[in-house]
């Protein structure tokens, strides 16, 4: 039974509990495990990699040890930075465009049955045709430059945004919609005041997937034809057997991907304070 909302959430932080040796508490151990375990795993993998490469004397062009990838990251930092900025620009512009196109399309699909019937086949077809096949065509039609890459990014990342947002817009509680009708809401008010807010959590899960796909899209775009960017740097370095530079580029790509993903999660938390409470509330009810 829940009576006093304040009491429930302050229970966990009773002073008597805090006074006990925190280092020995269950929370501390689990927090340590949460952080220490992944970090230890990463170091273990790197250690085994380094050791194996040295032990078996693997050629550097075949598989460089982590230490030489690290050295490459440092030595070629200005080159890597220049190409990283190009890729980052493509990712961000493409993703922004995908967001606009995705949300706009989702809103139209959820608002009108007719648009849904007309647009859905195209949305799905855009995902069944491999982007890697479309990219050379874009090159023929638009040429080199940033636009073919941006279009590839949009093509690959708008899909999860559309699908999730449409589901979100349709997930609005029918009882809630009826309640709004009895208060006199018109269709536009139902849409903006119930459907749109209900869709935001869904939108964010689509965005999390989309941001990761955006990075892949930019690299694919660059592979097909480019004169700058990390994807371009990877193909060029690979053909010259500069394998440590390939690995350095891959490392930067994953850092970009993880950072953007984390940024989305952060924005999500600030944009929907109510959602965090609701999730917490559901967990509490389950326990």
């Amino acid at each position: 039974m829940r009576e006093d909302p304040i009491a429930i959430y302050s229970e966990a932080e009773e002073p008597s509990q805090r006074a006990t040796l925190w280092v020995l508490s269950k929370n501390y151990v689990s927090a340590m495990l949460q952080w220490a375990l992944p970090v230890a795993l990463i170091f273990a993998v790197l250690g085994v990699w380094e050791g194996a490469v040295r032990l078996f004397n693997v050629a550097r062009w075949l598989l460089p040890p982590p230490s030489s990838i690290g050295a490459e990251l440092f030595e070629s930092r200005s080159l890597l930075l220049r190409h990283s900025l190009v890729t980052l620009e493509e990712v961000l512009l493409g993703f922004a465009l995908a967001l606009v196109v995705g949300i706009g399309l989702a809103a139209a699909i959820a608002y009108s049955r007719l648009v849904e019937r007309a647009a859905y086949p195209f949305v799905i077809a855009s995902q069944t045709v491999p982007v890697i096949v479309i990219a050379p065509l874009l090159l023929i039609w638009i040429g080199y430059g940033i636009w073919p890459k941006i279009i590839v990014v949009v093509l690959i990342s708008f899909f999860p945004i559309v699908i999730n947002t449409v589901d979100g817009l349709k997930s609005a509680d029918p009882d809630m919609l009826n309640m709004m009708r009895t208060l006199g809401a018109n269709r536009w008010q139902l849409f903006t005041k119930v459907q749109v807010p209900s869709s935001i959590p869904f939108l964010f899960s689509g965005v999390r997937v989309a941001i990761a796909l955006s990075v892949i899209g930019a690299v694919i775009g660059e592979w097909v034809g480019a004169s700058a960017g990390l994807g371009y740097l990877i193909t060029r370095s690979a053909s010259q057997f500069l394998t440590d530079r390939v690995f350095a580029s891959i490392f930067i790509l994953s850092v970009i991907g993880i950072t953007l993903f984390a940024l989305v999660v952060l924005i999500e938390r600030y944009a929907m304070p109510w959602y965090q409470w609701e999730k917490r509330d559901k967990v509490m009810k389950r326990n």
């Binding site: 006093d4 909302p5 809630m176 009895t182 005041k193 109510w274």
Partner: protein, 290 residues
């Protein structure tokens, strides 16, 4: 834990309602004709090409300022009837009049409170409360002021900026009440408003609603499963048969007002309760009364 919410002033209601003085209100009630009338309402649903009759020939009339309850076995169509009155569904047959006129544009003109509080989780308590006025395009600062004035009466003072998921079930239901009250419709439908609450909170809320309604004077139609609740709150109780729902008994509750929760153990009250239970049990032994 058990908090009683006393009105700060007896006549708090004029803050919202145009009908200001209690004298005016008394005059209106004395001359009141039926506020709402239902004539021969039938409702059929088609399920797998079979017609399922949910309501059959419902006649019902409520005077202005009257509180009536509809009670009946589960699935007797009480909630469907409320949906029809609210304008969310249309009857298969029959018509509905308000103030003596046939009214086919009821949706949005009749207050309706559901068993679930149906608060919008992304809105704070205050923003949920003002929803009805906001939808009518009233200026934001004005409607917020109106809501803030009533927060204390509804036991929500200090929680205006909280999100609903932080509130207890009883508090959430009071926010839903405040939303209904602020929307300021002349007829209010309540669909098991306390059904989701535990027994103790429910008893407190019933008494609180009694006070609210007695100083409020709106026309209320409430659906309930709870015989005691129906008798305690109502001027008349309509007992429904099992599906297809028909009116089996209309019982006037001539207990004095103002009523208090303590009355539930008095002889007259117990007799009324027995009469309602007898009517309920008479129609179908299998149909349980929750």
């Amino acid at each position: 834990m058990v908090v009683r919410y006393k009105p700060t002033t007896i006549c708090f209601w004029p803050i919202i309602v145009k009908m200001t003085s209690s004298a005016e209100y008394a005059a209106a009630q004395a001359s009141s004709g039926p506020k709402m009338e239902l004539y021969g309402i039938d409702k059929d649903f088609s399920v797998d090409r079979n017609a399922l009759t949910v309501l059959r020939g419902i006649d019902l009339s409520v005077r202005e300022g009257e509180f009536i309850s509809l009670i009946g076995p589960s699935g007797c169509g009480k909630s469907t009837l409320l949906n029809i009155i609210a304008g969310l569904e249309e009857p298969t047959k029959g018509d509905i009049r308000t103030d003596g006129q046939r009214n086919d544009r009821r949706l949005g003109a009749i207050g309706y409170m559901h068993q679930k509080d149906l608060l919008l989780p992304w809105r704070t308590v205050l923003d949920n409360a003002v929803l009805g006025l906001e939808l009518r395009g009233k200026p934001r600062s004005q409607i917020r002021r109106q809501a803030l004035e009533l927060m204390e009466y509804f036991g929500l003072k200090g929680f205006e900026k909280n999100y609903p998921s932080l509130l207890s079930g009883g508090m959430r239901q009071r926010v839903a009440f405040l939303r209904t009250v602020l929307a300021d419709h002349e007829i209010i439908l309540l669909d098991e408003p306390f059904g989701a609450l535990d027994a103790l909170t429910r008893a407190n809320m019933q008494e609180w609603l009694l006070e609210l309604w007695e100083s409020w004077g709106k026309t209320v139609i409430m659906v309930t499963h709870d015989v005691e609740e129906a008798v305690l709150l109502s001027d008349r109780v309509y007992v429904f048969t099992a599906r297809p729902g028909r009116v089996k008994l209309v019982l006037p509750v001539d207990l004095p007002r103002p009523r208090r929760y303590g009355m539930v153990t008095e002889d007259d009250f117990v007799k009324m309760k027995a009469a309602v239970i007898a009517a309920l049990r008479g129609n179908d032994v299998r149909g349980g009364i929750a």
